[in-house]
Every structure is written in structure tokens, then in C-alpha cells.
């Protein structure tokens, strides 16, 4: 007699696929909610799901945006395969391509320190002049800030703006702002989704220390033509998308331009400041296993003062990507990208034009490999060939006294290979771990300097100042030869332990290495700043970040709470000796010293996710500091070798964002921020020289600008009566409602009329009302 017994620990496998009923395409990231045990599982990239359950009766519920609710009762006695067919809803909501859930906290996912935003949220945070903006929405989240109005870039967890890897469809963006931070280079309507990693950075990313902002652009609706236009006070955008061949090929094209400068022309003022950018993306589906994408972008900022001075800069890229599906368990992604970052200055009244720029050619190969329901591998390679043009100057007229000159181009070859594992150790404990190997090669160039004793910077004991060393000779080496190589291992690990269905603890460690350094003498990047590769005198910067967090969903997912704490330490952080002169000064090694940096803090995010009233409260308490000692005990280094605050340190950073959907016509938004002012130096005395009062300063970053706080509100009105061809809506906004003059800078200067010293506060925006009109076809 054979006795077959089921003990209570037997688990039965339930697996299957979620597909769209009408066209059989798989649906990824669909949540299957299994009652009565209240278990949630997710379908993968190919629509597949797997889980293990005890034998019994269950109901499978799937509620996916754009589809009718699915409910099926099953009785589980042995392993079961199930195909879940979802029926699309007759009317689809806006942003069908996006998942609303993408922003929701994922309790069990070990990925921590990440923020994801949809275009819908970006469009609902009121900003200056009524224009929605990607980066301005991000800085309202914890751990992310910027150096204030009028500054470009952003700072993540006490890191510099050059420590963020900004990617648009895999292309590296070197300057992420237009008009000095007024707008970012991302057209919000063209964004499909964006992810910002502040920590626990997956091994497939490398090259910058503090964060990765990965933006994917829309490739166009495969079935219907759509258009949307937005007309605002300062800029407008127009976006078109649709099929080129139904269900096979689609396109997305978008453009934005500002035109405020045209108003200046009306007043006979021949100055202008404007920007424009254009996106084009094409998608072609060969078959269900192969898709090809082309993405192109061109963005420019132009400032000109009466034709005597014209400054043009911006990014451009072209990317070709092939997505291939080997089988249900293996997907690959191969892309080729060409990037061009240009900065051009034309000074007609002196008679010259100055160019500098970076050109990159990048190959990326990523593989996702599902080994089993518990283990997934990700691995791949990346290679970037960089060409740097540090400066090219030419005269623009015969009477100009300037001579043509080309500073020697630099070349570098940046490579990375990674292997990562996502593993479910148990039902409640998940682990992501991996390793990235980076190999950075600095290649030959002309005029490589040689310094006496390999010291590019000297310390003059008599004047107590650091001075540039003159090279004793220079030599040339072909750019096919490697002159320096840097190999680094970057381990990455993160883990999540969920001790109930809606709370978990996560921890992560990552090591990041940065070989591209932004030479900037200011707190916020300006287009004058120059990127320099690691080399003989500039070593790679290395960072270790530890982060720990507690995550909880409350009240049936109406609220969520995230508390994270981080600690970062950086080696080989370079800083400039006092008084470095950086313009067209290419040999940066002559005025930098090596030091270290650290930042640490606590981030707190409380969100209300559901209901007519939604929003969040974000608070960060942190510190970011640096230390640059002298190379020997006799040298002072910077600030006497003591720790000093980083230029973008902000002790307190509070953001409150609230959205209220009153009815179908009206929607209101408000946002409030309060932050500590940036570190600066106030004068501690003065003396007279050559008829001028010269202020005396001491130390570095020993004072602060006054605290910043501001309230912005906006209202969105969609009229009931709509034209049958399009839907129109109005947006009214007020930036800085109570007109607080926040200090962007404090100058200590001498009044030209009286000769008396005074402190002058510069504020960039007082109260600014704005209106914009939006049309969707």
C-alpha cells in the first residue's frame, strides 16, 4: 500500500501569462492580487508570472490601468498554468502608456533610494511661468536639491551637480538645463518614464558618483494619431505622435521654444535669450521578438547681447537601439549612441569666436535573463569613446588682434562590464547584488606636459601661496596609444526584508567611480565649465555609499512613509586652490589639490496616494563637507586642512506638495519649500588699494545666505464644453505667492555714487503670475 500524504508545507506552483485579449501582446508589470491571502505578484517583461501557494481555493484579481477588471476563482490542488486575458477598456485614460503604479512604493523590491515620476505628476507641480519641468519636480523630493534660482543642474545627497549621470534614451547629457536652470532639457510631454537612483545604484550604471537620472522617451502610439500643444507666456511646445504603419511603425516628434526675447525686439532692444529643443523618436516592430528604435535630440541655448556677444551651447544626440527577445526568459538591448555637447562664445566687439565641446560614441549591451522565479541575472557591457575639445579660438575679423589657436584635444576610452543578480532568498527576503568592472583609458594627445618632479602645482613658502608650475617640456603621443589606465571594481548590493505585507526594511551599499571631472570654480555649473578626463595628475574619484531605510504603507495604501538614512565618503575629490583662473586654462592640474569629501543625512517622505487630495511632504536633514589638506605637513592645503562645507550644502530642506481634484473642471496644486541658505563667505574687513575698497575674506564657506522659503500655487481648468476635435485646458499659476525676495547672491560692494561699502542682495524672481493654454488632439 502506498500512502501519499500532503503535509502542510507542500507548495504548489501557479504560473502563467498576462496578455491583452485583442492582440495577444503580453502585459508587463501587471499586479495579480490573490485573495484571501492578500498576496501580490507582478508579471515580468514578457507578461509571465510565477508563484508558489499552498493548496486551496483562491481568487485572482487583476486591475490594470486601461483594462477591465479581471477576477477569476481557482482551486489549487496541483501545479497550474493560467493565461489571464485582459480586455481593454473602451475609453482609455490619458497617459495610457504609463503605469500609475510606477510611482507607488514597492515594499518588497530591494531597490531603494529611488524615485520614479510620471509625466502626469511632473505636470502637476506648479513651477515658474506655468511650465511643467522634470528637474523642478524632482527637487521637491527628499535628498534632491539645487543651488537655487538661476542655477542649473541638481544635487543629490550632498553631491555636486557633476556627480549625476543624466541619460536621455541612453545618451549622456552634459548640461541638463536651459536658461540657467529655468527649464530642464527634458520636454515633459516627450517623457515616457523617468527614474532617479540616489543610492543602491544597479550595476548596469556607472561613471558618476551620486545618482543616475534615466529618462526614457515616448516612441509614439502605434494605432492613433495624437497631438498636444501648450502655449505659455515664455515658451510653447508642440508634440505629435502616431503610426507610420499601423501596429508596426510609429513616431514621436516634439519641439519647444521660448520666445520671450521677441518681446525685447518690440522695445527696440536687440538683446536676446532663448532656447529651443527638438525630439524625434521612431519605433519599428519587425516581429514580436525584435524592435528597432531611433531617437534623436537637439537642444540649444542662445544668449546674445546686441550682436557684440553671442553665446550658444547645448546637447545633441542620435541613438539607435535594437531590442531582441530570445525567448520568454531572455531579453537583450543593444544600442549605439553619438553625443555632441557644444559650447560656443562669439565676441564680435573683441573679434573672436571660441568653441569647446565633447563628442562621445557609445555602445551599450544589456541582457536580462530570468533563470527561475527566484533568480534573475542582468549583465552587459558599455564602451564610450570620448573626444574633448578644450578650446578652439579664431579671429572673426581682419582687424581683430586675436590669433587662431587650438588647445590640444584629449581622448579617452571608458569601458564597463557588469553582472548582477536579483534573488528571492525567501518570500520576505530579497537580495540584489552585483559587480561592475570599470576600465578607463586615457589616450595620447599633443603637448602632454612634463613637470619637474611630477609636480604640476607648487607651494611658494615665501608668499604662502600655491602657484602653477611651468612644464619643463611637452611631448606628443598618438591617440591610439594608452598613456594611463584605471581599473576599478564597483560592488553593488541591496536587500529588502519585508516583515509584513506593507512594511519593510532595506539596506544597500554601492561603490561608484567617476573618471569625468567637471572643472568648475563656482557652486553651480555654468556653461563655461570644462569636463576633463582622469589622467596622470587627476585620479578617478571613488565613492562608497551606505544607505538604510524603513518603508511602510498605511491605511490600505492610502499613505506611504519612507525614511532613509545615508552615509557617503569620497576619495580623490579634487578642489581648487584659492584664486584659480579657469577660463581657457587647460592644464587644470596646476591649480587643484586632492582631498576627500563626505556627506550624511536622513530623508523623510510621507505621501498621500489616493483620493481627491494627494501629495507629499519631503524633509531632508543633511551635511556635505570636504577636506583638502596640504601635500606635506608644511603646506596649508585649503582652509588649513580642516573640514569645510561643500558649496551646495543645505542643512534643512523641506518640500510640501499638494494636489486637489475638485471636480472634472478644476484641479488645484500648491507647493511650499523651506531651505537653509547656501554656504558663502562674508568679508571680515577691508582695505584700500588703487582707489578701490577691497574686502578681506577668511576661510572657506564659513557663513550662509539667508534661509529660502516660497509658496507656489496653480489651478488647471478644463472647460465642460469641448470641441469634438480637441480637448483644451487652461493653467493659471502664481510663483512665489507672498513675494519673498529670496537671496540668490549677496554682494559686498562699494556704491559707485557714494563710494560707501554696502551689502546688496540679488533675488531672481519675485511674484510671477503666468497663464498657459493646452490643446490635445
Amino acid at each position: 500500500m502506498v500512502i501519499i500524504s500532503y503535509d502542510s508545507y507542500t507548495q504548489i506552483k501557479l504560473s502563467g501569462k498576462v496578455v491583452n485579449e485583442t492582440n495577444n501582446t503580453p502585459i508587463k508589470d501587471a499586479y495579480l492580487f490573490i485573495t484571501p491571502i492578500n498576496k501580490a505578484i507582478k508579471s515580468n517583461e514578457n507578461g509571465l508570472f510565477k508563484t508558489k501557494l499552498k493548496p486551496g481555493d483562491y481568487t485572482i484579481n487583476v486591475n490594470y490601468l486601461g483594462y477591465k477588471v479581471y477576477k477569476k476563482e481557482i482551486s489549487l490542488t496541483s501545479n497550474k498554468e493560467l493565461t489571464i486575458l485582459l480586455q481593454p477598456k473602451a475609453e482609455s485614460l490619458e497617459e495610457v502608456v504609463l503605469k500609475e503604479d510606477i510611482e507607488r512604493l514597492n515594499i518588497k523590491d530591494p531597490q531603494m533610494s529611488v524615485n520614479r515620476l510620471t509625466a502626469k505628476t511632473i505636470n502637476r507641480v506648479p513651477v515658474v511661468l506655468g511650465e511643467a519641468d522634470v528637474i523642478r519636480s524632482l527637487i521637491k523630493l527628499p535628498g534632491i536639491t539645487n543651488a537655487g534660482e538661476g542655477s542649473s543642474g541638481f544635487n543629490v545627497r550632498g553631491g555636486g551637480a557633476d556627480q549625476n549621470l543624466v541619460l536621455m534614451d541612453d545618451a549622456t547629457i552634459y548640461n541638463s538645463s536651459h536658461l540657467f536652470g529655468l527649464f530642464s532639457v527634458f520636454n515633459p510631454n516627450a517623457v515616457k518614464n523617468l527614474t532617479l537612483y540616489k543610492g543602491g545604484i544597479p550595476p548596469r550604471y556607472g561613471g558618476r558618483l551620486s545618482s543616475v537620472l534615466d529618462v526614457d522617451l515616448k516612441s509614439g502610439d502605434l494605432k492613433d494619431f495624437k497631438a498636444d500643444a501648450n502655449i505659455g507666456i515664455v515658451s510653447s511646445k508642440l508634440n505629435l505622435q502616431g503610426p507610420i504603419k499601423d501596429n508596426k511603425t510609429s513616431f514621436y516628434v516634439g519641439g519647444r521654444s521660448s520666445y520671450a526675447h521677441l518681446f525685447l525686439k518690440l522695445t527696440d532692444n536687440s538683446n536676446s535669450a532663448y532656447f529651443y529643443d527638438m525630439n524625434l523618436k521612431l519605433k519599428h516592430k519587425f516581429n514580436k521578438n525584435n524592435q528597432l528604435y531611433f531617437s534623436g535630440y537637439l537642444g540649444r541655448d542662445v544668449f546674445s547681447l546686441d550682436k557684440s556677444f553671442k553665446n550658444t551651447y547645448g546637447n545633441a544626440f542620435a541613438n539607435l537601439r535594437w531590442k531582441h527577445r530570445f525567448n520568454d526568459n531572455m531579453n537583450s538591448d543593444l544600442s549605439f549612441t553619438f553625443t555632441d555637447y557644444l559650447y560656443r562664445l562669439n565676441l564680435e566687439f573683441v573679434g573672436f569666436e571660441f568653441d569647446n565641446g565633447i563628442y562621445d560614441f557609445d555602445i551599450n549591451y544589456d541582457m536580462k535573463h530570468y533563470i527561475s522565479s527566484n533568480i534573475q541575472f542582468q549583465y552587459g557591457l558599455e564602451s564610450i569613446y570620448h573626444t574633448f575639445n578644450p578650446g578652439y579660438i579664431r579671429p572673426t575679423s581682419a582687424s581683430s588682434g586675436i590669433e587662431e589657436d587650438q588647445l590640444p584635444r584629449k581622448y579617452a576610452f571608458d569601458n564597463g562590464a557588469y553582472f548582477g543578480v536579483s534573488q528571492d532568498i525567501t518570500e520576505n527576503l530579497k537580495l540584489d547584488y552585483g559587480l561592475r568592472l570599470s576600465a578607463f583609458y586615457r589616450l595620447g594627445q599633443n603637448e602632454i606636459p612634463v613637470y619637474e618632479n611630477n609636480n604640476p602645482i607648487l607651494y611658494n613658502e615665501t608668499t604662502n601661496k600655491y602657484e602653477e608650475a611651468e612644464p619643463i617640456r611637452t611631448f606628443n603621443r598618438s591617440n591610439t596609444k594608452i598613456i594611463e589606465s584605471f581599473y576599478n571594481l564597483e560592488p553593488r548590493i541591496s536587500t529588502a526584508y519585508s516583515f509584513s505585507e506593507n512594511s519593510s526594511v532595506k539596506a544597500s551599499y554601492n561603490r561608484m567611480v567617476q573618471n569625468m571631472h567637471l572643472i568648475s570654480n563656482t557652486s553651480s555649473p555654468t556653461p563655461l565649465d570644462i569636463w576633463t578626463p582622469s589622467g596622470k595628475f587627476i585620479k578617478p574619484q571613488k565613492l562608497d555609499q551606505f544607505a538604510v531605510g524603513f518603508f511602510k504603507e498605511l491605511n490600505d495604501e492610502r499613505f506611504s512613509l519612507e525614511i532613509e538614512s545615508f552615509y557617503k565618503t569620497i576619495d580623490n575629490k579634487i578642489d581648487y586652490v584659492d584664486g584659480a583662473d579657469l577660463i581657457a586654462n587647460d592644464d587644470v592640474e596646476r591649480f587643484i589639490l586632492n582631498g576627500e569629501a563626505r556627506s550624511y543625512g536622513v530623508e523623510f517622505l510621507f505621501k498621500k496616494n489616493k483620493g481627491d487630495f494627494t501629495g507629499w511632504l519631503a524633509y531632508t536633514l543633511s551635511r556635505s563637507e570636504q577636506r583638502t589638506p596640504g601635500r606635506t605637513p608644511d603646506e596649508p592645503g585649503i582652509a588649513d586642512g580642516d573640514w569645510y562645507l561643500a558649496n551646495y550644502d543645505k542643512t534643512h530642506d523641506l518640500s510640501i506638495v499638494a494636489n486637489y481634484d475638485w471636480n472634472k473642471q478644476w484641479r488645484f496644486n500648491a507647493s511650499f519649500i523651506a531651505q537653509t541658505g547656501l554656504p558663502v563667505n562674508f568679508p571680515v574687513g577691508q582695505f584700500e588699494f588703487e582707489g578701490l575698497n577691497i574686502p578681506v575674506f577668511k576661510g572657506r564657506n564659513s557663513n550662509r545666505l539667508p534661509a529660502i522659503h516660497r509658496l507656489d500655487i496653480s489651478a488647471n481648468y478644463t472647460p465642460k464644453k469641448q470641441n469634438s476635435w480637441w480637448e483644451a485646458s487652461w493653467n493659471f499659476s502664481i510663483y512665489n505667492v507672498y513675494n519673498r525676495m529670496n537671496a540668490a547672491a549677496l554682494s559686498f560692494e562699494q556704491n559707485r555714487n557714494t563710494g560707501v561699502n554696502e551689502a546688496v542682495r540679488l533675488s531672481i524672481f519675485g511674484i510671477v503670475p503666468a497663464v498657459s493654454y493646452q490643446i490635445k488632439f
Binding site: S523, G685, I764
Partner: protein, 271 residues
Amino acid sequence: MKNNWVILLFLFFIVSSCEEVVKVDLEEAEKRLVVEASIKWIKGTDGNNQQIKLSKTRGFYQQNPIPVTQANVSISTAENTFNFVNDDENPGTYITDEFEPVIGQEYELNIQAEGENYRATEILKPVVPIDSITQRNDGGFSGEEIEIKTHYTDPAGVENYYLFNYQVSFIQIPTLEIFDDEFNDGNPIFSTYQEEDLETGNTINIQMQGVSQQYYNYLNLLLSQIGDSGGPFQTRPATVRGNIINLSDENNYPFGYFSLSEVDTLNYEVR
């Protein structure tokens, strides 16, 4: 009416940004000696009359200077020593009428003040003459300002550095500009001066000085300290030290600089 509404909205935006004088409490660091020893040999004169000013640093808002009067000041070469005497009418200013300027000569400055000894050395730098001044009335950044150019021809094959000083009577402070010849060696070139409130009949006093590379570096640092000390675009302020050393106490260094230059100067009346 519709046009006006549109312009009004835009002007609202540009008028929105502003500068305002504010009160900021400042601390004062310990006082230091300040030495302004700029020896200028004006072309066409004998250069015998020179002055050196000694004072102490003071609080940023304190207007009255603090002169240092009981010091011994002299400049010497291998052969000669020129003593400077405190001018009773201008305490803190030390004068001589016996100085002998020689192009390319190295000079040493010695000061004994408040029980400490100070020294600096520099070379007297020559300067080419001002070739001409041209004026245009549609210059400057707005396209409506009076702009003048001071033309000169840089000597080829030599590293040259220049300091320009422009002074107009209705502005209390001079405009200083410094140049090197990295991109224009040997070529005719110019320095530009524009000022929005310039009118016909105003007189501009222009001085062109030849300076050493060391003085050029000092001035570069010094001039960048003036104006903004805070904000995202500003370079970080530094403690700027000149070329004068305190022999008695290395850490008690003075501010200021000892320089010797040949100078060409002229007064230009705006047409």
C-alpha cells in the same frame, strides 16, 4: 489693448528680479598692515616723486581709514637707497622726491612698522605708449552706450601684462582692467571702457601700466574679490596675499603689493 496686455505680462517677469541693499551683520578679523606701494613712472616725467601708503585693515562698514604713521620706509637697489618720509598733511602716506626709476631694474622695499620688519622685491616694468583712443556711441552691451577703446601695440616675443585704470569724475571708484598677451602677442589691440551714464563733455582719465606677471596674478585675484561673495556663480573668495613678507613673523603677513611700472596716461574728453 491686446498688445499692451502681452507686454505688461512680460515686463512683470523681467522687473521681478531685483537688487536691494540689505543690512548684514559682519564680524571683523584681526587687523593687518596694508601696504600700497605702487611706484608709477609716468612717461615724459622724471619719476622722482613717489608715494607709499601704510594703513591697517578695518571693519567692512567702517569708512575712516586707519593710517600707520611711525614707520620707516625705504626702497633700495644695489647702489642706492631712497628713504620715504611720512607726510604730515597726509598721515600714513610716505613720500620722496629723489626716486630714480630705471626700466628693468630690481628694487627692494623695506619697512619697519610697529616693531616688525617687512620686505619685498620687484622689477620696474616698461609699457608701450597709448596709440590712440576711438569712441563709438552705439557700443556696450545695450547697444546704446558710449564706448571708448584705448589702442596700443603689444611688443612681440615678450610676455606682457597690462593694468588699465579708468576714472570719471561722477563715479567715486575707478574701473580697473587687466590683460595679458596670450592670444594677441605682437598685435595691435585695445582695451574697452563703457559706462552707461557717460555724456558728451565728461573727461575720462586713462592710465595704462606695464606690470609683472606676479602683479598680474595678484590683481586677478584681488579684482575677483570685489562684488559678489555669494551665490551660485561666484568664485569662492580667498585671502589674497601680495609679495610683501613679514621677516619677523611669517604668519603676520601684510596685505597689499609692491610694484613698479612705467605708465602712460592721458585725459580724454567725450565727444
